[in-house]
């Protein structure tokens, strides 16, 4: 058992020689290409990942480069995609599946939860399943039903999986490569409304750690904890809070299972106040676990309960009202206020 962390610090991507600016989507594409070049046992499979390059074009050009045997347009069946990936992994491959949208992962739930997550433990550690399941996740793009869900809590509650959520281009490039390098199965969430966000990407950067959060901003008064699409929201809220004279820190979780409790505890101890922000509904969302665990670990230093900002306990609403449904800067600031008032 070796740690996957090849980087000395878990902070923001250090600038390298090959740093270029690209969108998050392109960074993922570059990360996939790089992984496929480095290891010819990496194969991609999913609906429309070939000639089309996926509905978000994340696999664009890869079938041209690596052929239809390594970039496989699957029949339209998610259970089959994950089940076949398990078989490929048993044969020594490192499959990377694409689930077209968050809401279409459920037909594969049995293969993920009963098979992918548990097969290693079942085998007494003899069988290794290096499978990555990429999932464009979350709302905010005005989509129809089933195209805007945040379901990371289901998989985080499932022992045997790792759950990763990327937030910006540079880190996405490092995280996708780490996920593919991992010998554990990884559910890899891509924040679909951030696909077109641009940022620096160091193509020489080593794969990221799969168990370290990033402190994107130190704070003294309140710590905001976010992942994936809400990292940007949290940063904006922290910025806004500065104008009101508060020092608000931001942590990007990056990995939801496991949680980087060391970093979270350190922040909770510094600020005594913490607000978790995610798009999933708060009830049993990852914020519940963070609140419970941080409260247990830091009971005596907390000045306020760990608060949660998520969506409501309703199925994802029609696009016209999603802005009211999703956590936004105002709702985060409201929680910051409440935390400060305790």
């Amino acid at each position: 058992m070796t740690s996957l962390d090849a980087t000395p610090t878990a902070g923001a991507t250090p600038p390298g020689t090959k740093t270029t600016t690209m969108t998050l989507g392109k960074a993922l594409n570059a990360g996939l290409r790089r992984a496929m070049q480095d290891d010819d046992h990496v194969v991609l499979l999913g609906e429309d990942v070939g000639a089309l390059g996926g509905v978000f074009r994340i696999t664009e050009g890869l079938q041209d480069e690596f052929g239809a045997q390594r970039v496989v347009d699957a029949p339209l069946a998610e259970s089959a995609i994950v089940g076949a990936a398990i078989g490929l992994a048993l044969r020594g491959y490192r499959p990377v599946c694409e689930i077209q949208f968050d809401g279409f992962i459920y037909p594969a739930f049995d293969q993920i939860v009963s098979q992918l997550a548990k097969m290693r433990a079942r085998s007494g550690g003899r069988v290794t399943l290096p499978v990555v399941i990429r999932v464009p996740v979350g709302g905010g793009i005005g989509a129809v039903e089933h195209h805007s869900e945040s379901n990371e809590a289901y998989f985080a509650h499932t022992a045997g999986l790792r759950v990763v959520s990327c937030a910006d281009p540079g880190d996405s490039y490092r995280l996708i490569r780490a996920a593919i390098a991992s010998d554990d199965p990884v559910i890899f969430y891509e924040p679909k409304r951030r696909y077109w966000d641009k940022g620096p990407v160091d193509l020489d950067a080593a794969p990221a750690s799969l168990d370290r959060a990033r402190v994107l901003r130190e704070g003294r008064d309140v710590t905001l904890v976010a992942h994936g699409p809400t990292v940007k929201t949290a940063l904006a809220a922290a910025e806004a809070a500065t104008e009101d004279g508060f020092s608000v820190g931001v942590v990007d979780l990056r990995t939801i299972s496991p949680l980087d409790m060391d970093t979270l505890m350190r922040c909770a101890e510094t600020t005594g106040r913490m607000v978790v922000v995610h798009e999933a509904s708060t009830f049993l969302g990852i914020g519940a676990e963070i609140a419970a665990a941080i409260t247990e670990a830091c009971f005596h230093v907390l000045e306020a309960p760990v608060l949660r900002v998520g969506s409501y306990n309703l199925p994802y609403p029609p696009a016209k009202v999603e802005d009211d449904f999703l956590p936004d800067v105002d709702r985060v600031l409201d929680a910051v206020d409440r935390a400060l008032k305790f």
Binding site: P75, F104, P107, N313, L314, K320
Partner: protein, 374 residues
Amino acid sequence: MSSTHDHVANDEPSLEVAPRREVSPPVQFVTPEGEVTALGEQHGIDLDLARQLYRHMSLARRLDQEALALQRQGELGLWLQCWGQEAAQVGSILALRESDYVFPSYREHAAALVRGISPTELLSQWRGATHAGWDPTSRNLHFYSLVLGTQTLHATGYAMGAVLDGGEHVVAAYFGDGAASQGDVSEAFNWAAARDLPVLFICQNNQWAISTPTSLQYRTPVHERAAGFGLRSFHVDGNDALAVHAVTAQAADIVRRGQGPALVEAVTFRMAGHSTSDDPTKYRTAEEFAAWEARDPLTRLRTLLEHRDTEPSWFSALSAEADELGVEVRRACRAIEAPKLDDLFDHAYAHPHSLVDVERLTHREFVDSLEVAG
């Protein structure tokens, strides 16, 4: 294992179950050129029916074009065109009784129009105002199912209920060539067949599932697969409205008489991209499009009707009707209002739910606080 037989012996008699004879060609009554086939003649061509079909198809195409334009103008978030599939939809749904409950997938706009769904009801989902535009019981048409194949099992259960109720029934489920790969669809075939349930499966095989051609989706056509499960199986030229109607009527009759489920595979083509977000030039050729354009379901029926003495005035009256529909579609679309999140708290549960009640309140208070602040 020296004592085992050399099992690659090639002189050995085949022990295989005799493979099925060649694939049967789709039933066709009218050629792409508008000529009536021998089978069509044998069956007889009902010109009143042909006009009825043509009218619905024309109106559907107009709605489809208007909706596309509205999406391009930003009035709709998304649109999935039914262009090219009008015969498959109108022909099949008109062959059912209005009392037959139908589960569509998400592209059945032409079928929905036949069932009396209004432009407002149809477009509100694609404008992002609702997830389901109409009351399913009012027209015996369920709302669209977006998770592929799931509705085939709903149809199976609905048919169980219909059998418990007694009487003669057909419960229909539409799905595509891609959706057919989902396990749910096979489970539905199997259950319906095992229990002789009155389900009519209607597969519009439009050759593509987004960018995935049927050649990558399966080895045998869907009607072959269905037959393997024990369904009564039909294969029809899906761009030939009269043939689709006749075939569906015959299949529905079998189902209604309690002889078990049936499947109609209608061979057609998705002329547009998958949706307004799609770019079909990435994966298919202009030649393929052109070949199917030559098989257009409206042109073929129009030619037939013109050859069989339908007056030009009938066509121009229809054209005027379509223009009216176009006006109504544009008006209706723009008039669709966004719901309030506040109201949605009432829709998720039938009985009070304490968490939802608390969150409704929290949301209201938060909105109020913003109004006070801002």
